[in-house]
Symmetry: C2
Subunit: 396 residues, 2 copies
């Protein structure tokens, strides 16, 4: 049998992270690699009550085919919780926010058209865009995100204009960095001037530690932005429940793409989440996640201070989210470090995976949410030991 | 803001069926339009027990991120229930079998490449293929499905070879027809000779009334076929659980497309279904669906005999599934009939929606599963009344 693969499959590749996560299956390893929320934060009992209630009161409807837009009360709840005036008619429920990326790619990317991303950026977005064959360009970025002057240079005009800029303003994956109020204001203003649409991805926004982040980009110019949100980090990822908010101009095409992709997101899951959220559940629940993750971030920062002393390693201090970004001394490569780290029972993701353009091989991503504080202590000590081993090897 | 839509969005259209289903929201209307399984067949209590068990015994894992391939025990259960030797490693769990169509389209269709379908065919497949911009060609078909001689003529060769033939051999949507053993054997043999891959879609195969249908096409040549299956018709569609079986040659690309599309299908839903299926549940449950649907098919056939007497209307006698195919007298148009039918409180889907090429405007699809036997009686009487009204109008 002669199967002919579509040309676009040449752009599709297995995820480097998937391969690394396989390493973490080694017994006894401390994984600082995955972006897995702590299972301690999953409200299992509340879900059990919600399942029982949904099946008792709304069993048949929850198990039947349903509207592609999503379950009405969930669309309304999403609109109501967002910090700008959102019409529920502009909310599309998606099978995780990953599906939002797939739908936007189908609707806005032609083969060869340009898409702009941060440096570095979320790997899953690059994977979602790849089948639609864009030319992905990496906008120079600093510790607040994309640099505005570089953006103006790269946006282009006419038929060469970039289709959108993909940004993750809060506690970014992979770097953990956050855009300041000033940078957000400048970005939205500049994008509007350039006529450049923004694709704003905000899975981590609720996971702030000391103070909420500045208002979303979309809140500042809803007509010029698509907003992606998710229940994966505030409730549980295994339900695959996300959403997008898009202006009326492009909503119908996103809806058609959604219908063709999987008809609709499971109605049962949508009702479970509406049921769980009754009575302001998230207002009680999310602060417990913030507290846990802040403690674990503090544990990681303390362990880094303690263990990396004198090793010339740099890292940032994320004010929310799940990830911390680390940079090795000049001449060191995080991929080479990974093998030594796994020998010492700790895993991470080399930063190179997250670059659309030229990668910085010295960078790596550490998650502080999946492992406990005690495991983080052990893991960071092992990581420091691996750094020393790599240093010794390179000075031999 | 200037949004530039991808060229492929010109091929994407709102579903005609969605528009018709809106008509069925009229109070008191009997809908013979939708392909909605009877909610009487949903095992609500079994799901309630399964939810409780999954959350009690496997709560954290069921709510966590998971492998894109699907939950191991579900892949094994799928492989075990299929009537040929299937390696669970070749099973990919999908978010409904609609997602299987989306993934296959991404992996096998280039813009302008040819895809062959039955005449008529499942509308949702045409919608799933459309964003990848194939040239869809309709293979002449009779009451057993595609005609083999026509297939040989249309398959093509070299770079012009069709990428695949999409077929629904059992109780097809929309016609309800089934391929005979002889036609299956000839089709698989001819496709192998031509090197033409088959995409076999089998959502209704378990819903046989008197005897199981002949073996799947894929069972006869697994290396040359992709098989799509679903839990929507044997358990419930609202969980969005389907699967595909693909040969090792193309499985990795389908898996990469799956990961990019939604990371994975909800792990909670996958475990629910594994839990419900414990102890041979489907062997007890599916026969109750067959019995109900057979009774309702019989009610529809009896009502048609009774009400359509003398109206020169033709219909088939499906031996399973959910749909019956009806053809109006020469000169009549099913779309014109729909308006008169809705006035009389009955809805159906005009057959024209299901043709990739030249449509037969006299055809229409009737579902016998959503409405009760009593509603079917009322609905078919109203439909006959509408036919008479249209006949009178055209003879005026």
């Amino acid at each position: 049998m002669s199967w002919t693969l579509a040309t676009r499959t040449e752009k599709m590749n297995p995820s480097v992270i998937r391969e690394i996560l396989k390493l973490t299956e080694k017994p006894g390893i401390v994984s600082l690699a995955g972006g897995l929320p702590s299972p301690r934060t999953f409200p299992v009992d509340d879900f059990a009550r919600a399942c029982a209630a949904v099946l008792q009161h709304d069993g048949a409807a929850s198990l039947q085919y349903a509207a592609s837009e999503g379950y009405g009360p969930l669309r309304e709840a999403v609109a109501a919780q967002l910090p700008w005036d959102v019409d529920p008619a502009q909310v599309l429920i998606t099978t995780g926010s990953q599906q939002g990326l797939d739908l936007v790619a189908k609707v806005l990317i032609d083969p060869g058209s340009r898409v702009l991303v941060e440096t570095p950026t979320y790997l899953g977005a690059l994977q979602a865009f790849a089948p639609m064959e864009p030319v992905v360009q990496s906008v120079p970025s600093d510790d607040e995100g994309v640099q505005i002057d570089a953006l103006a240079r790269l946006a282009g005009s006419g038929t060469d204009k970039a289709r959108f800029l993909y940004v993750l303003p809060n506690f970014q994956n992979p770097t953990g960095r956050t855009m300041s109020e000033a940078r957000r204001a400048a970005l939205v203003e500049t994008a509007a001037e350039l006529g450049l649409p923004l694709l704003e991805d905000n899975p981590y926004g609720e996971l702030w530690f000391d103070a909420p982040p500045p208002a979303p980009l979309t809140a500042r110019n809803p007509a010029g932005c698509i907003y992606l949100g998710s229940f994966s980090k505030v409730l549980a990822p295994g339900l695959r429940l996300g959403y997008l908010v898009a202006p009326p101009e492009i909503f119908p095409k996103l809806l058609q793409a959604k219908q063709a992709a999987d008809l609709h997101t499971p109605g049962f899951n949508q009702r479970m989440v509406v049921e769980v959220m009754q009575g302001g559940f998230l207002h009680r629940h999310v602060p417990t996640i913030r507290t846990l993750y802040r403690l674990q971030r503090d544990a990681m920062l303390a362990a880094l201070e303690r263990e990396m002393d004198g090793l010339d390693v740099q890292w940032n201090r994320p004010v929310g989210g799940m990830f911390l970004w680390l940079r090795l001394p000049e001449g060191m490569d995080a991929s080479a470090l990974l093998a030594l780290a796994v020998e010492r029972n700790v895993a991470f993701v080399p930063g190179a995976a997250f670059y659309a353009g030229q990668a910085d091989p010295r960078t790596l991503r550490l998650s502080f949410v999946t492992a406990s504080s005690a495991q983080i202590d052990t893991g960071i000590a092992a990581l420091a030991d691996a750094v020393r081993a790599l240093q010794e090897r390179s000075t031999l």
